[in-house]
Each structure stands twice: as structure tokens, then as C-alpha cells.
Symmetry: C2
Subunit: 198 residues, 2 copies
């Protein structure tokens, strides 16, 4: 939950796991922040068969995310906050998936940061109301991927990039002694998309 | 999720763990169904300090419920379905707790049954719109407890009793060869509360 999780920017390298929880598909993406550079590490999507009971689906998602945490040893987990849902039932179901995602982080001892949708989109595309397709494009460009990741994995990578932005900024501020909102010197798109306004 | 979880009533003794997930307090209660008799085994409430981050709170709840599953080896977990929530945020938060509760069941290999609020209240008090206090009273009487359990634990025991009702009924039906809706011969209150109408 704490956005200002302790330890951000203390070391030169941070590994960030972004998660995009979903009742049908849960995306995840791992990036590494080395100073002001972002590198792609891995990404994927967990599909939990709808033929399984909901507890088994949650177990499948938890098991996979716990495996990702073990394998990549992230220093932070980043998630998008949810403000809207179609109705109480979909909020409950999404909450259940978020619950096991948060648990996977806690069981790995990894602090969790949360950002709202506008923050995530702005960090990746420079535009707070970017479309899913624009997110996919920019994630692919920023992380120099050879192919566009699927929507859910792209959203997860975007959440990771959003937190990486903060890590990189803090490292940069600590190195140069600067304070304030400027992100000069960082590899971040501000108006990178055609028509993107931030 | 499956109410008609396999194996119900196949053996004379079932151990049922009822869970009442809540963002501040999560109640749990274990009962044993021996033929048509219900016996209290244990109950409790998990309090996750609000000073903890939400992922740590979920971890605390999961750890405690997983311990209860290990210790009491339930054959079924019973939960109340949720249809209403104040708003999307409270549905999401409640969903998160339900997520880790369902995971604790799945990790223990225990099938989950869900009942709506009216079914649970009716099973315990004979009245589908009973108050919290009436539930506490009837749970205490039915399980011959020396003291009233706290609200959340009472609700959890009520969910367990509701599923126990089904187990006991099936055992009875299997034994006597009866079919149908009658619960004659079972130790169940139908109009046990003053003014309770079913």
C-alpha cells in the first residue's frame, strides 16, 4: 500500500514487479532500474481456467505470482489502484485477485506501491488518458521489446515503469543533489505519443 | 464456490470451518457434524492491526486461517456470499480478504461452499432476517457454548452450521432413504426464536 515504500533509490539497481490483477487474466512484468535506465527482464500472463472453482483460480494466480517473486526477487511490487468497477460483484471478484496478488508480495517480503490509472498512463505515454493500444506501443518502445506484450502484461509493465520512474528520479535527485519536480536527464517520455499531452 | 461440493454426507463425521471475512476483523469457527449432531470445536477472530499496510494485514489473516486449516483439518469450508457493499472501495477491500480466505481453503485442499445471508440466518435461527444478536444467541444455544462468541466468530459459526445442516440432512436422507425437503429428526431450530418465522 505505501507508495513511499522505504528503501527506494537507496541502491543503484531496483527490480520492480508490476502486476495487473484481473479475474480472467492477470498480467505481470518485471523491469530493472539501473540509475536512470530501465531494462526489461520478463513478463507474462496468468490465465486461470474458468472451469475451475474460484478458490482454485485464486490458488493458480497466487502460485504463479509467488513463483515470479521467488524467481526475480523484486525489490518492489507496483499495482494500479482501482476506483471503478461495473458493480459490487465485479469489485468483489477483482478484490479477491488483488488480495492474492498483495499476499504474494507480502509473502516474499516485498513492499507494495500503488498508483492510480492516470499516474501509470502518464508515466508511460506522457498522457493520462492513453488507450490500451498506446500503452502497449509505448511499453514496447521504452523497454525495447521485439514484440508487443499482451494487454494485461503491458499494463503490468506500465505499473512497473511508473514505479521505476520514481526510483530513477530519486536516484537522480540523490546523485545530483537536486530537489523538485524536474525529471531532466531521465529517459522518460513526456510527449512521446502523437497528440500526447501529459 | 461449489455449494454442492463433492463428498458431503459420505461419511458420518464432517468438520466444517466457517469463515466470516472482514476488513477489520475476520471471524472463524469450526464445528463437527456427527450424524445429525453438531458439536463445537473452536472459534476465534483474527484482528489485523490497521497500522499495518494492507498487504501485511492480508498476510496476517491468511497466516492465521491457514493455521486453523492445518490444525483442524476441515472437510469443508463455508462462507457467506456477499451481495451488498457500501461502495466499490469497500467491495474491493472485502474482496481482498475473501481472496486470501478462499486461498487458505484451496491451499489446504478443502472444498468451499457458499450460502447467502438468508440461508445462513434461517439455518441458525429459523428466521431469514435475524439480527446479529439473535445469531449470537442461537449459535450459543445450538452449540451449547458457555459464553456468547463475538459477532464475527458467531457469524462464522453460523456459516459452518448452515453447511452442517446440509451435511446432516444428507446423512439422514442417506440413512433413512428419505428424499425431499423435510428435516425431521435433525437437531435444527425451525421456529426457535421468539417471533421467528422462517
Amino acid at each position: 500500500m505505501p507508495v513511499d515504500a522505504g528503501g527506494i533509490g537507496e541502491g543503484p539497481i531496483e527490480t520492480i514487479l508490476g502486476i495487473d490483477p484481473g479475474t480472467i487474466k492477470t498480467g505481470w512484468g518485471v523491469i530493472r532500474v539501473d540509475g536512470s535506465r530501465l531494462r526489461h527482464v520478463a513478463h507474462g500472463t496468468v490465465r486461470a481456467a474458468t472451469t475451475l472453482s474460484q478458490d482454485r483460480r485464486l490458488q493458480r494466480i497466487f502460485t504463479e505470482l509467488a513463483r515470479v517473486v521467488r524467481e526475480h526477487q523484486p525489490t518492489h511490487v507496483s499495482l494500479e489502484k482501482v476506483f471503478l468497477a461495473r458493480n459490487v460483484q465485479s469489485a468483489l471478484k477483482l478484490g479477491q485477485v488483488r488480495g492474492v496478488a498483495l499476499l504474494a508480495a507480502a509473502e516474499g517480503g516485498v513492499p507494495v506501491a500503488e498508483y492510480n490509472s492516470v499516474q501509470v498512463k502518464k508515466a508511460v505515454t506522457g498522457y493520462g488518458h492513453a488507450s490500451k493500444a498506446q500503452i502497449q506501443q509505448m511499453v514496447t518502445a521504452l523497454l525495447e521489446l521485439s514484440a508487443e506484450p499482451q494487454e494485461d502484461a503491458a499494463d503490468a509493465l506500465a505499473a512497473a515503469i511508473c514505479h521505476g520512474h520514481l526510483c530513477a528520479f530519486r536516484t537522480s535527485a540523490a546523485t545530483t543533489g537536486r530537489r523538485g519536480r524536474s525529471s531532466r536527464g531521465l529517459r522518460w517520455p513526456v510527449e512521446a505519443l502523437p497528440g500526447g499531452k501529459g
